[in-house]
């Protein structure tokens, strides 16, 4: 039976590229696929493009490290690292390949996911862009929109592979799409073969977060996961009939078993019986998982239903500013000192007329990651950090707030530790996310594939 081996290369912008090199060198793969875009990555990239129109794509070590070895082994690369500017990313990779002497390398650039220039048109065409989570009319945020991108499926990437691309660069795609594309291309799956497409989506979902299916971020007995310093990224061997085995490259750390794979299977999933993607609605409750030897999990039985007639659009908008600062106190009475400092600061905000929409107090070492679920009262802690965070429409107020903390060392409760905090934190722009559905035809009609060939 025909099969294809596909490896994971990246789970987010900032992920380690070295396990990707292990996938290339010892994963015995034909393809490596990367998911570089978390929900808010486009907001960061949009800002980079505002400063320099040539930027707006994911810039990291991935291509400089991986392009040569992939070319040498004939491994094709698929990524959504194009971000908000896939043509810019295509030019960057093309220049890099030229400098490396990779003559003849073909780079496909997929555009059309960016619908920001078309929001007005879509509204006048009667498309309802209300937020899927909260409802509301888009006019309430229209003057603050930073980016608006539709999630594309695997089809344009399959087209790019058919055009002979060695590297496929897209912008916003559904996270598993980069992984599904080579399966469809190599195994000849039809676009209405819902069960096989659903199998491909589940496998893509298991690989899109890099080591999260091989023992990373494992909520079980994580202390038993071996070799996390050189953890292996997942590799899938996928058969023509949609059955597959998830494993990892020989000699790498981590663990692939039912526990690690199941955790990733439900990661960021809502209704497991209806995982909606542009290519198929996958039913994760139909899959059968079984261990198939050490670090191998076999996946069979996946079922899918027809794809939706709409595509999800993710819209980011400017939503005020965050100001934050930390001051730490030592035993004795660390918690009481931190609480007192919080009380002082809140009185000072009022006295200075600093207006905040929201003030959040967290005690690091006591409740900053558990909030109201924290146990005890923190009475005997060795040290506590007071973290205070504010939300404001006014950038200046967000910048002023942290300056009230250093004086506490002399003017407030004793034993304030000021070192090692990384200086005065700068205000950070907050980005609201707005999700809507648009008819897929409205997006697909503007999707384009350009091929760049390295000379």
């Amino acid at each position: 039976m025909k099969s294809v081996r596909i490896g994971a290369g990246q789970g987010f912008w900032g992920d380690s590229p070295f396990p990707a090199l292990d996938v290339v060198q010892s994963g015995n793969v034909g393809y490596i696929a990367c998911d570089a875009l978390a929900e808010l990555t486009l907001a960061i990239l949009q800002k980079a493009r505002q400063k320099d129109p040539a930027k707006g794509y994911v810039e990291d070590m991935f291509f400089s490290l991986l392009l040569g070895p992939c070319r040498a082994k004939g491994i094709k690369i698929l990524t959504n690292a194009g971000g908000i500017n896939p043509p810019g990313a295509g030019r960057m990779v093309c220049d890099l390949a030229r400098r490396m002497g990779l003559k003849g390398l073909k780079i496909a650039v997929i555009t059309g996911d960016d619908i920001l220039p078309r929001i007005g048109d879509l509204r006048s065409a009667g498309v309802d862009l209300s937020d899927m989570e909260k409802g509301g009319d888009i006019s309430s945020i229209e003057d603050r929109i930073l980016f608006a991108n539709a999630y594309l499926g695997a089809k344009p990437m399959v087209d790019a592979l058919e055009m002979g691309a060695d590297v496929v660069i897209a912008g916003r795609t559904s996270d598993p799409a980069q992984f599904l594309a080579p399966m469809v291309y190599e195994l000849g799956w039809r676009w209405d073969d819902w069960d096989r497409l659903a199998a491909g989506i589940l496998l893509g979902h298991l690989m899109e977060c890099s080591a999260q299916s091989t023992g990373g971020n494992f909520g079980g007995e994580w202390w038993n996961i071996p070799g996390m310093e050189r953890i292996g990224y997942p590799v899938a061997e996928v058969y023509e009939n949609g059955e597959a085995v998830i494993s990892k490259p020989e000699g790498t750390g981590g663990r692939v078993d039912l526990r690690t794979v199941k955790e990733q299977m439900l990661y960021e999933v809502h209704d497991p019986a209806a995982y909606v993607t542009p290519d198929v609605v996958a039913d994760f409750t139909s899959a059968r998982l079984e261990e198939d030897g050490p670090d191998r999990v076999r996946i069979t039985g996946m079922k899918g239903r027809p794809r939706p007639e709409t595509l999800k659009v993710s819209i980011g908008y400017s939503d005020g500013w965050l100001g934050e600062a930390v001051v730490r106190y030592s035993w004795p009475h660390a918690m009481q000192k931190a609480r007192k400092a919080d009380e002082i600061l809140r009185r000072q905000f009022a006295a200075l007329g600093l207006q905040f929409e929201e003030i959040l107090t967290e005690y690091i070492g006591f409740n900053s990651l558990s909030g109201p679920l924290a146990w005890g009262d923190g009475g005997d802690l060795n040290e506590v950090g007071l973290r205070i965070a504010v939300r404001t429409r006014n950038k200046l107020d967000a910048a002023r707030m942290p300056r009230l903390l250093p004086p506490l060392a002399l003017n407030g409760p004793p034993t304030a530790g000021a070192g090692g905090g990384g200086g005065m934190p700068r205000p950070r722009e907050l980005i609201g996310l707005w999700s809507a559905l648009v008819p897929r035809g409205e997006v697909e009609k503007q999707v384009k594939i350009d091929i760049l060939e390295v000379d």
Partner: protein, 110 residues
């Protein structure tokens, strides 16, 4: 009735989408699936996360992998990129769910 921490019976992972958090909950032993099904209800999880989660909580059963998926709406102070919280991505919700106590008919061990 003896009671144990959910941490002793199950593992969990959480993640975010917009202002929604999901938590996958996985009993270590298949035979505990029933116990979790009876006791770790959507209502109880909603109550457990009071103060962190503003919206509804939905529970999906995933019997093929002996798991449950909890979807918590209005859980992230507006969503990762506009949240003031340290755990802006909701990565710790899974661990926080495991702070729940459940009643067992017998003495349990992982």
């Amino acid at each position: 009735m003896p009671r144990v921490l959910l941490m002793d019976l199950a593992h969990a992972r959480s993640g975010d989408k917009g202002d929604t958090v999901n938590i996958g909950l996985f009993p270590y032993r298949d035979e505990d699936y029933r116990l979790l099904k009876d006791q770790v209800t959507a209502e109880r999880v909603k109550e457990h996360f009071r103060g962190l989660v503003e919206g509804e909580v939905i529970r999906y059963e995933v019997p093929n992998i002996r798991a449950f998926n909890f979807v918590l709406k209005g859980a992230l102070n507006g969503g990762a990129s506009r949240s003031l919280r340290s755990d802006n991505l909701g990565k710790c919700f899974g661990a926080n769910l495991l702070r729940m106590y459940v009643e067992t008919g017998e003495k349990q061990k992982v």
